[in-house]
């Protein structure tokens, strides 16, 4: 059963599309960030699960184990997690400022106010 055996990739795809859909479909700026977070997290799972080797243990030299999981993707994704945190923090800070400036965080209401300004 190759399709079931690749279940980690299926989870990745489903999560990724969920997150992506939320980013596109929601008009609330905070909900958009939530979607963006799910979208990024799915990629973390992709990287973390690709480093797993069947039967492998944690990559620590103990003398008994012969197969180790690949630690490189795990280390890489640590960096991406940090980036994700920074992006979320910055995004939320911007939402706070937008709320101060417009009094709303709904995209269509902000858009309507900006249209008025342009006229």
């Amino acid at each position: 059963m190759q399709i079931l055996g690749l279940y980690n990739y299926w989870i990745f795809i489903v999560l990724m599309m969920c997150g992506f859909y939320v980013v596109i479909s929601r008009g609330n700026l905070v909900k958009k960030l939530v979607g963006l977070n799910i979208f990024q997290t799915s990629v973390f799972i992709l990287y973390i699960s690709m480093g797993k080797i069947a039967g492998g243990t944690a990559p620590i030299l103990t003398g008994t184990a012969t197969i180790y999981s690949n630690p490189v993707p795990h280390v890489l994704i640590l960096t991406a997690i940090v980036v994700g945190i920074a992006t979320t923090a910055l995004g939320l800070a911007l939402v706070v400022r937008i709320h101060e400036a417009y009094g709303t965080i709904e995209e269509d209401e902000i858009h309507a106010q900006s249209e008025d300004e342009a006229l």
Binding site: Y47, P73, T79, V83, T87, Y102, I110
Partner: protein, 493 residues
Amino acid sequence: MTEHLPVLQVVVPLIAAPLCALLRPGRAVWLLAMATCALCLLIAALLLDRVLAQGVISYAMGGWPAPWGIEYRVDAANAYMLLIVAAIGAVVMAFARTVVEQRIRLPASKQPWFYATYLLCLTGLLGMIVTGDAFNVFVFLEISSLSSYVLISIGRDRRALTAAYQYLIMGTIGATFILIGIGFLYVMTGTLNMADLAARLPAVADTRTVRAAFAFLTIGISLKLALFPLHLWLPNAYAYAPSAVTAFLAATATKVAIYVLLRFFFTIFGAQFSFGTMRLDAILLPLALAGIFSASVVAIFQTNVKRMLAYSSVAQIGYMILGISLVSVTGLTAAISHLFNHALMKGTLFMALGCVSFRIGAVSLDRMAGVGRIMPWTMGAFVIGGLSLIGVPMTAGFVSKWYLILGALERGWWPVALLVLFTSLLAVVYIWRVVETAYFQPAPEGRATGEAPLALLVPTWALALANLYFGLDTSLNAGVARRAAEALLGVGP
């Protein structure tokens, strides 16, 4: 010391950024930031000089040899890009001080953070160029992107906030797509080093994973470089950011993304796979043409001049992508030299607009009536930048348009060459609208403000004169671009 130049290029601004944030507001912060930018420019010039004399420089980060450690690899293409970004970084930093002190709505105590963020953005851009490691590209991409969201959001208009937010969403989606693409490549090859990837990919090229990686990377990078129709974040971000930030980002950020595109498709995947097997040119060519045409037309109908130039940037990016989709040495030379020339012309234009908004407070067409007589030097620089944008002979813009038309004719695509000429006429129309308003309409009563201060005029004119200089002496912008193109295509010396 000189063997460490590739890493110093990134480490110097990276260390200077937190130092700036720690300093008290005042002249010292700007001096430190300015000195850092000047040092970066010096390093970039030295690197280009060494690469042209000795060939590729490879630097092993921390002494770990290449496929395992992170390698910094400098060849003609990225040494040339480093010089562009470092030069624009230094010129705009000279311009930024007056803007930050008087025009940006930042309390004095927060001003050091502007310089820190600016230097971080410069670090990210330089890092993306200098690195030879695919994952490292992603890390530096995010450093530059995150800091550019901050820089855009400090514009005076509240719409700067929504523009920054929109850019954050689109930019993060793009960067995550790039991350997925790199992940797929790693799954297939087990390596992240660009040269190593290039060596191992042909063996697994005919798999769905590699093709999916190619697709994700294409979309992700295209989002970052604002390829039509993925350019929606760009007009607002450029229109509402502070003028110094717009000048810096317009001249560098999208250019670096185009360099990343070149690096991935020519060096890592190879021209044969990207354009022979995957037929990327069949997608890029129509998108480039549609982008050039539609963005130029939209630019004509803008009343905010900054927004007009932002749409013009989308069109200019189309020219670069057009050059790439020709997949020939001449086409690539056009694209790479246009990276340089467009940085010069858009830097000049946006800095001239910065001077205008410094005195008048706005850059909409109706407010700019009669500015030409009140601010002759500023508008003089604007006209030079505009002529270069149109591609008038004796300006830098002519050089790249010339190569572009030559490349199109080489392939026998004369309709493409005609379209390039026709869209240059559209550029004449929108630049003329500004010139006509500024010179031939009377200034409204009671707005007798003078010329912009020298601190703004000198950097603006430095870039304006560079437009003229590189229109006459093409050894750097076209000569080195040709060597870079040959290096990317793997032909020639």
